[in-house]
């Protein structure tokens, strides 16, 4: 029940900001909503041990281990982003111009994200992801110029196209259900689909799976439909980039999870072929661009494409990589939120996104410098972060499955990305400071969420409490084709 209240709180917050447009109250509402939702999400995860899977709202919502994990993840990240926005408004009151509509849309976006995470109905999940797109689009060009406007338009077009193809895929899957003797009734309820004894492969099902994976791949910014992502992540305000990269991204990943939970037992070859191909192509695109990139925000955007590729390959490989994929997804969400918010602080101080213009950040902005360094290490998959262990588990599965070509290509590309990113970013962190050593005051609101993200990132790699480990294993089990 607490999970369902999570949906209502942001909507109520949005309504409050509409009724009472005082600046201070609006920004406090945002923060309060984020805090309450984190508490409710924690209560929901805690209840998992006693209650297991729950079905609410006429079976339209499902509260299982997977939805609880993603709910907790997105609420924590949203709290971090809210603190960042609060800090920015406190530090630079000029950014508060037109903030009411910004906060309202952010809360609607958050509510739609929670609805997508909790949805037990494939079509409604699709609708809620589309709703996150529609609420995020105006946020991308909030108080920004024509490039941001054009990026928002591109984002809207690509998202609509990708989600349109996904919808077509769902219709194909529905058509495919006609041909299963004894299970002809068409349903879009995830819990019912996972209980079906047989979803025998056929033309419609193959086509449906391919279209759904391709469509959600577009939403994740994977090749070949990746062109919107670098531009959008670069042009959007940093808080919005973090919303897209760490919250909306995970809603789309969860949708992929659900499809894989339902169809993996019957359609592993096609799932594997589509996801591995798209994943590898995405890593190639990311590697080629990271080598020549001159803009640090775009560099992290291309690293996001690389991450989407790694997740797709992990999901494509199948059961034994499931736990590694989950570790990687959690780390990836935290790293992206950490890095994009840090980029926001750096951009606010130096008004540049060009890598060559910045050096000695660790002296100019000690907190941001350290966060950037730690974030880049985690981004590159260094130990002891969760991304390292996630990547190792995925690579281990490649070896187990004797996918040597994939393994060699993956290692080679990851090495290229590793070297190119380090070569670009490390001179930004060390060296002579850009401002001649004038320290920038960084508020507690800016530092606290990032510290927390770093703590979880390290914890995912070094020490996971037994209860958290059991919880993650339960999610991995459902991803391997276990019942929801």
């Amino acid at each position: 029940m607490s999970a369902l209240i999570c949906i209502l709180i942001p909507l109520f917050g949005a309504l409050l900001t509409l009724l009472d447009p005082k600046l201070k109250r609006s920004i406090r509402v945002l923060l309060l909503v984020a805090i309450i939702d984190v508490i409710l999400a924690m209560v929901s995860v805690e209840a998992w041990r006693n209650k297991g899977t729950e079905h609410l709202g006429f079976n339209y919502f499902i509260i299982d281990s997977t939805s609880r994990l993603f709910l907790l993840l997105i609420t924590f990240i949203f709290l971090g982003i809210s603190l960042y926005i609060y800090g920015r408004v406190v530090m630079r009151p000029i950014v508060a111009k037109n903030i009411h509509s910004f906060i309202r849309l952010t809360l609607v976006f958050f509510s739609a994200s929670i609805l997508a995470v909790l949805s037990n109905h494939l079509i409604l999940m699709w609708v809620f992801i589309e709703a996150t797109t529609l609420s995020a689009t105006p946020l991308i060009y909030h108080r920004k110029g024509p490039p941001a406007f054009r990026a928002a338009w591109k984002y809207l077009l690509f998202s609509t196209l990708g989600l349109g193809l996904t919808f077509l895929g769902f219709l194909c899957l529905a058509k495919g259900m006609e041909f299963h003797p004894g299970t002809e009734t068409v349903t879009y309820f995830i819990s019912e689909l996972t209980l079906r004894p047989s979803l025998t492969p056929g033309l419609w099902q193959h086509l449906g799976i391919a279209l759904v994976l391709f469509g959600f791949g577009t939403k994740l910014g994977m090749a070949p439909m990746y062109a919107w992502l670098p531009e959008t992540y670069d042009e959007a305000p940093p808080s919005v980039t973090a919303l897209l990269a760490a919250i909306q991204f995970n809603c789309a990943v969860l949708a992929l999870f659900r499809i894989i939970q339902i169809y993996r037992p019957f359609e592993q070859p096609i799932i594997s072929a589509v996801l591995t191909t798209m994943g590898l192509a995405s890593i190639v695109i990311a590697a080629l661009n990271i080598v020549v990139i001159t803009n640090y925000k775009r560099l992290i955007a291309y690293a996001s494409i690389n991450h989407a590729g790694v997740i797709a390959i992990g999901l494509g490989l199948g059961k034994s990589a499931s736990y590694g994929v989950i570790l990687y997804i959690l780390s990836n969400a935290l790293v992206k939120a950490l890095l994009f918010l840090t980029c926001g602080n750096i951009k606010a101080r130096f008004h540049t996104k060009i890598i060559a213009d910045l050096h000695g950040l660790i002296k100019d902005m000690p907190y941001s410098g350290w966060f950037l360094m730690v974030g880049i290490f985690a981004l590159l998959g260094f130990a002891p972060f969760g991304s390292f262990f996630g990547e190792i588990m995925i690579m281990n599965t490649m070896i187990e499955q004797k996918a040597w070509v994939l393994f060699i290509a993956f290692c080679a590309l990851i090495t290229v990305i590793f070297v190119a990113t380090g070569r670009s970013v490390f001179p930004m962190i060390w060296g002579e400071p850009t401002s001649g050593g004038t320290l920038e005051r960084e508020t507690l609101y800016a530092v606290l969420p990032k510290l927390f993200f770093v703590a979880i990132l390290v914890s995912l790699g070094i020490y996971l409490p037994a209860s958290a480990n059991t919880f993650l294993q339960a999610v991995a089990l459902t991803l391997s084709g276990g019942r929801v």
Partner: protein, 211 residues
């Protein structure tokens, strides 16, 4: 049913060869109206089907094309040409090939069922033509028309599958489509101002301080 599908094909194909944004938007509206008629001619009489019929005939068939026309009229003169695909023989051949490809797919799936063959062939052709328009368009209103043609193909496919969504899902899908079109409209309204800003460069200073 067959003649409705033939009219649908005509409403989709003719605007490709006529350089007019008004005809293109009218074509999109007629496609939606025909989809509504196809739905009404089927045996489906559930509340969900009724809602979808209203959505197709009233919202997609009339309100959305009118709404877009009102917006576009403000910055594009009536006689301004708009080519959905560049007018040359190669791309026209490409469009006809895609329509053939759609029907080839219909024949491949339903070799002995003419009704379903036509349904699937027309739906596939609409999806492919929508993608073709999108890949050839740089003008925002042209891109929106590409999306609307693609969506019409998807709805036709949905009607062919004959598995109506349950009422909450249908209501949500109709609502989200309406919101999507409103957002498209908001963007189309702002594009002329954005182009002016691009020429004058007045936005640079404000862009420095963002959230």
């Amino acid at each position: 049913m067959t003649y409705l599908l033939i009219f649908f094909m005509l409403a989709m194909t003719l605007p490709l060869f006529v350089s007019s944004w008004r005809i293109a938007l009218t074509g999109v509206g007629i496609q939606a109206l025909l989809l509504g008629l196809i739905l009404l001619r089927s045996d489906e009489r559930s509340p969900s089907a009724l809602l979808q019929a209203i959505d197709l005939i009233v919202v997609r068939g009339a309100l959305i094309p009118l709404y877009l026309m009102v917006i576009v009229r403000k910055f594009l003169p009536k006689d301004q040409s708009l080519d959905l695909i560049p007018p040359n023989l190669i791309l026209w051949t490409g469009a006809i090939t895609l329509i053939n490809l759609g029907f080839w797919f219909g024949q491949f799936v339903f070799p002995n069922d003419l009704s379903n063959l036509l349904f699937l062939g027309t739906a596939s052709a609409a999806v492919l033509i929508g993608l073709f328009i999108l890949s050839n368009q740089k003008i925002p209103i042209g891109q929106v028309i590409g999306i609307l043609v693609l969506e019409a193909g998807i709805v036709l496919f949905e009607l062919m599958t004959n598995h109506p969504l349950d009422l909450p899902a249908q209501a949500a899908v109709s609502l989200i489509f309406l919101l999507l079109t409103l957002v498209f409209g908001l963007f189309l309204k702002r594009f002329p101002a954005i182009e002016k800003q691009e020429q004058s460069n007045t936005w640079v200073a404000e862009e420095r301080e963002v959230l």
